[in-house]
Symmetry: C2
Subunit: 224 residues, 2 copies
Amino acid sequence: MKGVTTLKHSKVPEATIRRLSRYSRCLEELDERGEKVVSSAQLAGKCAVNSAQVRKDLAYFGEFGIRGVGYYVKDLLSDIKRILGSNKEWRMAVIGMGNLGSALLSYKDFLKQHYKIVAAFDIDPPKVIGRVSEKLGKPMEVLHISRIKEVAKDRKIEIGLIATPPSEVQGVADLLVEAGIRGILNFAPAQITVPEGFVVKNVFFTTILDNLAYLLSNYRPPQK
Amino acid sequence: MKGVTTLKHSKVPEATIRRLSRYSRCLEELDERGEKVVSSAQLAGKCAVNSAQVRKDLAYFGEFGIRGVGYYVKDLLSDIKRILGSNKEWRMAVIGMGNLGSALLSYKDFLKQHYKIVAAFDIDPPKVIGRVSEKLGKPMEVLHISRIKEVAKDRKIEIGLIATPPSEVQGVADLLVEAGIRGILNFAPAQITVPEGFVVKNVFFTTILDNLAYLLSNYRPPQK
């Protein structure tokens, strides 16, 4: 892999990173099926993008593949995972054990992709142990949020998934920052402020619905 | 509001639409507080973007605000809602009553923004009625998925939220298409194909985590 360590990643559009993640999934499927080589057109077809886009996205990170042959599936997969940082296990905590927090705890796709939930927190843990255990099939002790700093260190937690009510989200984010948990995936519909060096990604369902509503409202049938 | 109906919406970047949704939330808060006028700098500060970005985003849709004064809060809010299509009630169904589906049923921010869940479906409804009722505080009958076409018509459902296992998602999408439900928000980590005129938005938690992992892996402290 050429170039990956020398290029300026900060210039890479977010949409490119999202597509790399998609290419990674598609390449995994190809690899599982025993495919050795894939052309950019085949990869593009599988991922529902156009092949020029695939080449453009990869070009941010160096030169991949062999002209006239395509990409070696295993090599490209490994390169993309290294770029994304998904070639390692990320250890995560869920904060807030309501419906959504419980759903996150039992979300199978995380583990498949090396995102491992190693702790669950709530402000009222005794109430929820039973509920979570029942859903997971195996018990996971829900801890009181006040223990997060100690547990984050012991269990090497790097990412926190916040699934509390919106009113609690900044307070929880402050605790995560204090515990040195650098990555936050925030599901509660409220903006968070964190210091330099910490990263927040919001997953606001209503914002995504707004986007869908916009596309539905502004759809024009193609001219015949 | 000038221009909104004549501009080519298809050229508007998705990131702009996402930010419009954020501006809309900020404007609502300002309106609730009784603010009449807001400058682009104030709106930008509140939404954590820069003010040039606010002006650029709005410029896609015409001219808003008054030079040297700013924007009238109520007017801009109403214009943005019209642009987004969020000035009407959208009637939705949730399909798949596992943890995530239950979480979506009780997600308070939807209703606040005029997204109303009017039906819930599962392949095994009797099992889940109790669970959903308990969580919602009020009972919502979970219906068998086979009834979706009839119910979609009766209850004027326009958007389906899919929260089934990934293996079921294309089958469910086909049923939604057959029922004339044009918008799909897909939470199951699998790609869907729909005919022209239908719109799918994916919410893949793992893809968003990939993005977060990328930012964490590639963070470089600023040069002093």
